[in-house]
Amino acid sequence: MADERRGGGARGGRGGARGAKEEKGPGQRRSLFRRRKVCKFCAEKIDYIDYKDVRMLMPFVPDRGKILPRRISGVCAPHQRALQTAIKRARQLALVPYTAD
């Protein structure tokens, strides 16, 4: 029982430390090279995510066929929403797969 409590305390402490660090400023010390991700569509100023443009969509559809979550790709929320509909439309037209075969 005592062990358990100590473990929990340690975990809480670590989490708290991380939160505090982020408040100070992103990745100043030993952040294990967590690079700041920037939305591709914002950076390249793409206003309209075209479902016909397979070359643009494919990076967001990994081999498995699923839509890449934005926690991985770093796409901002408005663009992820647009991207999502674009991919779904492209799927209907067999431009982009639903699943891996």
Partner: protein
């Protein structure tokens, strides 16, 4: 009565259809547009391309894109005809006018705001400044 909107129609013609049949289908679409009233803005034949998955026995399809100004009734009739046609593997109608207008709006809004060279910051009100700075220095 009903307002004219802009639609994008894409249909996939079976790979065993001849060039002539594809042209016929296109002519049919044109005829329907002419009959009901509307305007064919752009027509594009992508030709034969591999599909991401098989539709029935087919692995390839002939893609045809038509950009149409017209009413909902026109698109309804077009859809009905495409559904009936056996050579059509699949079709998709998307209303594009509002989306394109929205894209145009953000584009012009960006042009007005000439000041900041940092393009990334434009939309991301949520992004912290320090984060963006860091990215720029990397890039």
């Amino acid at each position: 009565m009903s307002t004219s909107r802009q639609y994008e129609l894409i249909y996939i013609v079976s790979p065993d259809a001849s060039e002539q049949e594809i042209a016929d289908l296109h002519a049919q679409v044109e005829a329907i547009i002419a009959r009901i009233g509307g305007e064919l803005v752009k027509s594009e034949n992508w030709g034969r391309r591999k599909m991401a998955y098989e539709i029935g026995p087919h692995k390839e399809g002939n893609y045809v894109l038509e950009l149409i100004n017209g009413t909902g009734e026109l698109m309804k009739e077009l859809e009905r005809r495409l559904r009936v046609s056996e050579k059509i593997l699949r079709y998709l109608v998307v209303r594009v006018d509002e989306e394109l207008r929205a894209a145009e709006r953000t584009r012009s809004r960006r042009k007005v705001r000439t000041g900041p060279p940092a393009g990334e910051g434009d939309r991301g009100g949520l992004d912290s400044d320090s984060g963006d700075d860091r990215y720029e220095s990397e890039a």
